[in-house]
């Protein structure tokens, strides 16, 4: 049995929104993430796909404890990380880093590149001398393809792609076991996107880091992931191997997502018949009853509005939450 790096069990995150009038504050709770379970093994890439507002970022932030979770359990490196006290959090985080979506906003504009990249060292490797830290920073910069002559510059002097490299350099300097990438390429230009994806793939191979790769772009996720998890309104719709999901998507939502992605090939793109979803995703504050996807689903029947589907195992490691998928185990 292989030891998982990260085990997430029945994770639920609730947010409160103000819902009252001038004189009375009423709050309405809604679940940004509802009963989500998954795991990540060593040096594996788990892709997380979903539309905006589906709770992708909340999930990432809950794993690194930037937002609190309301129920469920996160086990990190075999230890329970949910109940650990704030004072021990720092120790946990050493092996867990985050790369953010907006490359420039995630760098402190008043710090030089060397200060930014060495920040984790300042916190975790206080035994190192200034010289040793600088050497590590330079090594890290070279690894991500930044010229070390830029070490004393400020973030605003860099382009978006370079800023993202700085963010990645900071994330890898402690040699973490897992990096969570929250839409790392969606703010970048196409040609830069490819560079950063290549870089992430390369780093993962070289340092055998596990990645949780969050994106709204299925084609990016397909390129980089080993397994893919599809999220809709805070619920897992489908989780499967990358090949299973893309060649044989079982959930109607995954199928719709796949068909919505344009192909950069005019003949194929103009010939194929798209199977578009109707409407927008409902607000997570007022989710539909039963299966959350039923309002846009073509297969929707009575049961969908009554009962929330439980996850069914279609195949080993392929779970689908849909009433219309037959359970492999029950057969």
């Amino acid at each position: 049995m292989r030891e998982n790096l990260l085990d997430v069990e029945n994770l639920t995150i609730k947010y409160k929104v103000k819902n009252g009038n001038l004189f009375f504050n009423r709050y309405r709770e809604f679940k940004a993430i509802d009963q989500v379970s998954f795991n990540i093994g060593p040096s594996e890439t788990l892709g997380l796909v979903g539309e905006s507002g589906c709770g992708k970022s909340s999930l990432a932030r809950a794993i690194v404890k930037l937002v609190g979770l309301d129920s469920g359990k996160v086990t990190w490196l075999g230890k329970d990380w949910t109940s650990s006290h704030a004072s021990t959090d720092r120790k946990f985080r050493e092996n867990l880093q985050l790369v953010f979506q907006d490359p420039l906003a995630s760098l402190n504009p008043r710090m030089t590149v060397s200060e930014i990249i060495s920040e984790p060292l300042e916190n975790y490797r206080k035994d190192l001398s200034v010289l040793e830290k600088i050497e590590l920073v330079k090594k890290s910069m070279e690894t991500v393809g930044l010229s070390t002559s830029m070490i004393n510059r400020y973030p605003h002097e860099f382009s978006g792609g370079q800023c993202q490299r700085i963010g990645i350099a900071r994330a890898i300097i402690l040699k973490p076991k897992l990096i969570i990438c929250d839409e790392p390429v969606s703010a970048l230009d196409v040609s830069i996107q490819a560079q950063v994806i290549n870089l992430l793939k390369d780093l993962q191979k070289r340092f055998s880091i596990a990645l949780l790769f969050i994106s709204h772009d299925l084609s990016v996720v397909k390129h980089i992931s080993d397994r893919v998890m599809v999220l809709y309104l805070g619920r897992i719709m489908e989780i499967a191997n990358v090949n299973d999901l893309f060649s044989n998507p079982s959930h109607p939502y995954s199928q719709a997502l796949l068909s919505a992605i344009p192909i950069p090939d005019p003949i194929r793109e103009k010939e194929r018949k798209r199977d578009n979803l109707v409407g927008d995703a409902p607000s997570p504050i007022f989710p539909p009853s039963g299966c959350v996807f039923r309002t846009r689903c073509k297969k929707s029947t009575n049961i969908c509005s009554i009962k929330e589907p439980r996850e069914k195992i279609v195949k080993l490691g392929h779970r689908v939450a849909c009433h219309h998928v037959s359970d492999e185990e029950s057969k």
Binding site: R93, N123, K138, T148, S149, Y154
Partner: protein, 318 residues
């Protein structure tokens, strides 16, 4: 905060030649020059110098301060010395050493202006420093920690806000006595309120920025986040506010002096001189105009400098 950074930078420069990947020495030297020029504070200085109005203002302020503090040693009259021969206000003359004439009591006007300048500058700086220290601490704590800390601190600020300013200062003066330096602190205690609100607002917007999250993920403690990430980023606003507070404090002091709560004669300040001059402006407008000129020059310069600093310190505005 600039100091420790410079130390690190020096060490880096020293180490540069040891690293194998910087083999091309001449090239790395060129790069070094480039880097040195681009550090935040130096580049801010450069931009400040390019801003003519701000640069000239800064020089003028320095010049005024220099004259006020050094000038009295070169004058033949001291500020509280009465020239019994010229007991009435006399016009300027070079012969008797009263370069700007005397006031109605026969005291040398220039000496009094310089002395008044000393007091005004001291009040301005000290009181503003007090305001900054309290204001930034309270504001950043309230903004960053939020929750009940924020509630308690901001309610205290609200309560202090509604107490009439003069009333507050008078109470402080009564409690602490009419100590010259205590007055600075008293004024500072009043001025920090606005400061803390500004800092709190800035901190609250910064708190939700991604780089604060990323610092936390990098394992930074709250203290480190406040000192390394929040405060350097609000420094620009603080500096601007400081340059706007100094003239405000100088004005407040002159008002207090006018009420008899500030400096006591024969000691004087620019504000006190102006109120003295105002009483006699029909007979000798000079005693009003000249100190007023000094005061308004200084106030103007501080405002220009404040604007210039704001532009220079914001690296994103380039």
């Amino acid at each position: 905060m600039a100091r420790p950074k410079d130390e690190v930078r020096l060490k880096m420069d020293y180490t540069k030649s040891f690293f194998p990947f910087n083999t091309k020495n001449s090239k790395s030297l060129d790069a070094l020059k480039d880097i040195e020029e681009r550090s935040l504070w130096t580049s801010a200085m450069q931009r400040l110098i390019q801003n003519k109005a701000a640069y000239i203002s800064a020089l003028l302020i320095l010049f005024l301060a220099f004259v006020c503090f050094v000038g009295p040693y070169f004058l033949s009259w001291s500020y509280d010395e009465i020239d019994w021969d010229l007991i009435e206000a006399t016009p300027p003359s070079i012969n008797n050493g009263h370069f700007l004439g005397t006031d109605s009591l026969g005291r040398d006007l220039l000496a009094r202006i310089l002395q008044g300048g000393q007091v005004s500058f001291q009040v301005g700086l000290l009181a503003t420093m007090v305001a900054v220290l309290i204001g930034v601490t309270v504001g950043s704590l309230a903004g960053f920690l939020g929750g009940w800390v924020d509630q308690v601190l901001m309610r205290i600020v609200d309560i202090l806000y509604v107490i009439p300013l003069m009333f507050f200062i008078i109470i402080l003066m009564v409690i602490f006595g009419r100590n010259f330096y205590l007055m600075f602190i008293a004024i500072g205690f009043v001025e920090w309120l606005t400061m803390s609100r500004i800092v709190r607002g800035q901190t609250m917007t910064l708190r939700h920025k991604e780089f604060i999250d990323s610092a936390r993920v990098s394992g930074s403690s709250n203290t480190r986040i406040i000192f390394k990430h929040i405060i350097p980023n609000i420094l620009g606003v603080v500096v601007v506010y400081v340059t706007l507070t100094i003239p405000q404090v100088i004005l407040l002091e002159s008002f207090l002096s006018f009420l008899g709560l500030g400096v006591q004669p024969p000691m004087t300040s620019w504000g006190a001189l102006i109120s003295e001059g105002a009483r006699e402006m029909e007979i000798t407008p000079r005693t009003l105009i000249i100190p007023a000129l000094f005061l308004s020059t200084a106030l103007f310069c501080f405002n220009f400098l404040g604007d210039g600093l704001r532009d220079a310190l914001d690296p994103r505005d380039r």
